[in-house]
Subunit: 68 residues, 6 copies
């Protein structure tokens, strides 16, 4: 996908929790769980459900770093 | 770290590229590379350099999903 | 906290309003009220309630300026 | 300003540092310093300079909380 | 409005859908529909309803590009 | 593109300005100009230049509204 967002990580949906306006979606990416909040409409239009193959997309300006 | 951001992934700095105001930092997280753009000042104050152990922090509202 | 986010302001929780997926949290910071929208899960896991001491964390790329 | 962004805090510019594309602006808000990264073009078009009265504007979905 | 956000597009509200914490607002901008998620409180305080003239405001660091 | 981001607007690149780390790209979308700040690396990897057909992509949680 020729999108400028530099982080595009393959994963698999682990859980979808729908609210009235938003949806909380958990995705397994390698050994980590990544959590995403998108609109309920997007979750429904994409038909997201447990086990779906998805790509997690994150703009690099949204990524912070903590020194351990 | 008791921070509300739900995504806190352990990694290791792979590259630091400094600009005048911003810095582009690449971090290895498992089998993926995650790219982060932070201020140059933060990169310098944290003393970020290749090999450093860091935690990648991302608020869940910044995470999009693409259905494969 | 050695986090790249440059804005880390001490405050005290003034109100927590929980929705199904998100939570709206108001924090007193000096003479201002700062409002935050986080996931309900984070609000519950942090056990946020009125009077709690918290740090408001904001990445500098998310801060706009208006000339008065 | 009837803008949906819930955080609109009055301050005064403490420092402006221009890069080629971005600008790093520090604003005194009460007893805190708030740092903002905007485009160089906006900094120039607004004519931002030390001492200017400004309003810091932040969408609530961009505000994280850390429990102390 | 002398705000640093570089994208300020005139439009007209097409739909408002309120949740407990958030609101999903659709705005017609030229020939496009732009969708916004703001807090329910902002939607109510602005009194947003179908047909209202509004300006869509987006910080340029939040805008991604896809090559077609 | 089955991406959760609800705003995907067709446009054409009007200008590309490269910095050391970031790039400022202006896109004509209908009668409006939309400005985007992405990494220089993405601008170069996508080979963005004036006249290119692109899609502007914006997550709905990043869109604010001002009542006129």
């Amino acid at each position: 996908m020729p999108l400028s967002a530099r982080n595009q990580l393959p994963g698999r949906v682990a859980e979808v929790h729908l609210g009235e306006v938003m949806a909380h979606v958990t995705v397994r990416v390698g050994k980590n769980l990544v959590e995403s909040v998108i609109t309920r409409r997007s979750a429904e239009e994409l038909g997201l459900k447990k086990g779906d193959a998805v790509t997690v997309v994150i703009k690099s300006t949204e990524v912070m770093l903590q020194k351990d």
